[in-house]
């Protein structure tokens, strides 16, 4: 069975008052992971597969075609892990 770590290379907590989380998907599996995320999350807007503005269970985030995503207004890393598990597994 897959785990979040199978898809995620790094998680960075941003520096700034926002305290967002940047998730960097593993390069080899990024297309697979992006497809999974797009299947579950609601697309609010996008620019030709370069960037998607998404929502999922009241969490808003941006996903980039480069395999990076920025999640906003999450309580902590634990909540992020739960969201990622729901999106990727």
């Amino acid at each position: 069975m897959n785990t979040v770590e199978d898809y995620v290379a790094r998680i960075e907590e941003t520096c700034g008052e926002e305290r967002d989380f940047v998730v960097i998907l593993k390069y080899d599996l990024k297309n697979q992971a992006i497809a999974k995320i797009l299947k579950k999350a609601k697309v609010k807007k996008s620019i030709s597969r370069i960037v998607f503005e998404l929502t999922f269970k009241n969490v808003s985030f941006r996903l980039y075609g480069t395999g990076k995503a920025i999640f906003r207004n999450l309580k902590d890393k634990e909540e992020l892990q739960k969201v990622l598990a729901d999106l990727l597994l």
Binding site: T14, C15, G16, E17, E18, D20, V22, K45, I47, I50, V51, E53, R62, Y64, G65, T66, K68, I70, R72
Partner: protein, 411 residues
């Protein structure tokens, strides 16, 4: 005027593509890329000269010692210090400031004393003084910054007094690029008998810096922000002050003798000469060699040319950015009082969204507080995006940067 297109040929990394776009590196205030001359110098050191320095009689050690000592001499000449005795090699600016705080400050700052810092300092010039004040009990006082990010000299003059023992300030802001008149500050500080420590992390790589002309007591800077390798930087200190200060770290290299007294059963130590008494343990020899190559590269270009190129690029970029409706540049809009750093925001987008969007197009910029949270609080900003330039950046890159910024603001 320098030719950035010719210079780019020396930087192998600039040939890379990132996310299927040519790399545009605009995060130079964080660290700079390395020319092949620096990379080759490091390679040559390890292939031809690697040995530990000092107190060995073999040929390799003598070669390594000469290279390492020469690196101190080159740094001294670069900032017009009086010789290598005034140059202490450290890991970088942060360690240099900590060295002053703990070697000088720990013994010299008393409860009734004051340390002046400015509100635009990098955390590395705030945190050491706040931490030390918890031990020694002195007061850290903050000098105000004007709304445009320039130093409020009136606030400085109001804050300084005979209680002030040291004034710690940056030469160039790593957030706004504003150049501070440290010469004026030093003159006033010395009238009150205070020392002056200048954070030169963003000035030494970008404009001519002459410690004698500025008449400052300490100058801290990092090699990796001026084409050199990471892990090497320098603290300049006036010789007469360094001679009075006790070392920060103890160990090999920094002592002349350690003798054991059989009666007291204690060791007594005699310290090495400057600058070695501050360089305990095996130093970053290769870092010194790389830094020498970086300095030679910059000297060949000429620091006046470096400054002029950045000013030109900054003026052009700010002019182009002002065409954009939702983009706001923070800090002064006059390129002549700045180095090549532009902090900005895009409407209601977070700075990290902006940086990630640029990354999709192969453009590397930084986002966040840039280790200067008090200044962001002063500007009432949650964070900022920052583009910063160096000798290899071109107008063509700026044009692409602005085109991408147009897309970002309209997403």
């Amino acid at each position: 005027m320098l030719d950035p297109y010719k210079i780019r040929e020396d930087f192998p990394i600039l040939k890379r593509k990132i996310n299927n776009h040519p790399l545009i590196y605009l995060d130079n205030a964080a660290t700079t890329q390395k020319p092949k001359q620096v990379i080759e110098a490091i390679k040559e050191f390890y292939e031809e000269h690697n040995a530990n320095v000092h107190r060995a009689v073999h040929t390799l050690s003598q070669e390594a010692s000469e290279l390492y000592e020469n690196a101190h001499e080159e740094v001294a000449k670069f900032i017009n210090a009086d010789g290598m005795e005034e140059i202490i090699f450290v890991r970088g600016t942060t360690e240099a400031i900590n060295l002053v705080a703990y070697a000088w400050g720990l013994r010299n700052l008393k409860r009734e004393d004051e340390v002046l810092v400015t509100l635009m300092e990098h955390h590395s010039n705030i945190v050491p003084w706040e931490l030390l004040s918890k031990i020694n009990g002195f007061q850290v006082k903050y000098v105000e910054v004007n709304d445009d990010g320039t130093l409020n000299y009136e606030s400085f003059e109001n804050a300084i007094s005979h209680k002030t023992k040291i004034v710690c300030l940056l030469h160039v802001s790593n957030v706004t690029g504003v150049i501070t008149n440290v010469k004026n500050v030093a003159k006033t500080a010395h009238e009150y008998g205070a020392l002056v420590l200048v954070d030169g992390a963003q000035s030494v790589p970008h404009l001519p810096v002459d410690v004698k002309d500025l008449d400052i007591d300490f100058l801290a800077f990092s090699g990796h922000k001026m084409l050199g390798p990471t892990g090497i930087g320098a603290l300049y200190g006036k010789r007469e002050i360094l001679e009075e200060i006790e070392p920060f770290h103890g160990g090999g290299e920094m002592i002349r003798n350690v003798t054991f007294n059989t009666i007291t059963r204690r060791c007594s130590i005699s310290l090495n000469d400057l600058p070695w008494k501050f360089e305990a343990g095996t130093p970053n020899i290769c870092g010194g060699v790389g830094l020498t190559a970086a300095i030679k590269y910059l000297k060949d270009i000429g620091m006046d040319n470096v400054k002029a190129h950045e000013e030109n690029l900054t003026e052009y970029t700010m002019h182009r950015m002002q065409e954009l409706e939702k983009v706001k540049i923070y800090g002064p809009k006059d390129a002549s009082i700045k180095c090549g750093i532009i902090p900005f925001g895009v409407d209601d987008l977070s700075s990290h969204d902006v940086a990630l969007s640029f990354d999709s197009y192969g453009i590397m910029i930084r986002s966040g507080f840039h280790c200067a949270q008090p200044l962001h609080e002063k500007f009432k900003l949650k964070s900022s995006a920052r583009a910063s330039f160096y000798i290899y950046n071109t107008r063509k890159e700026i044009d692409w940067f602005v085109e991408v910024l147009k897309e970002i603001e309209h997403f």
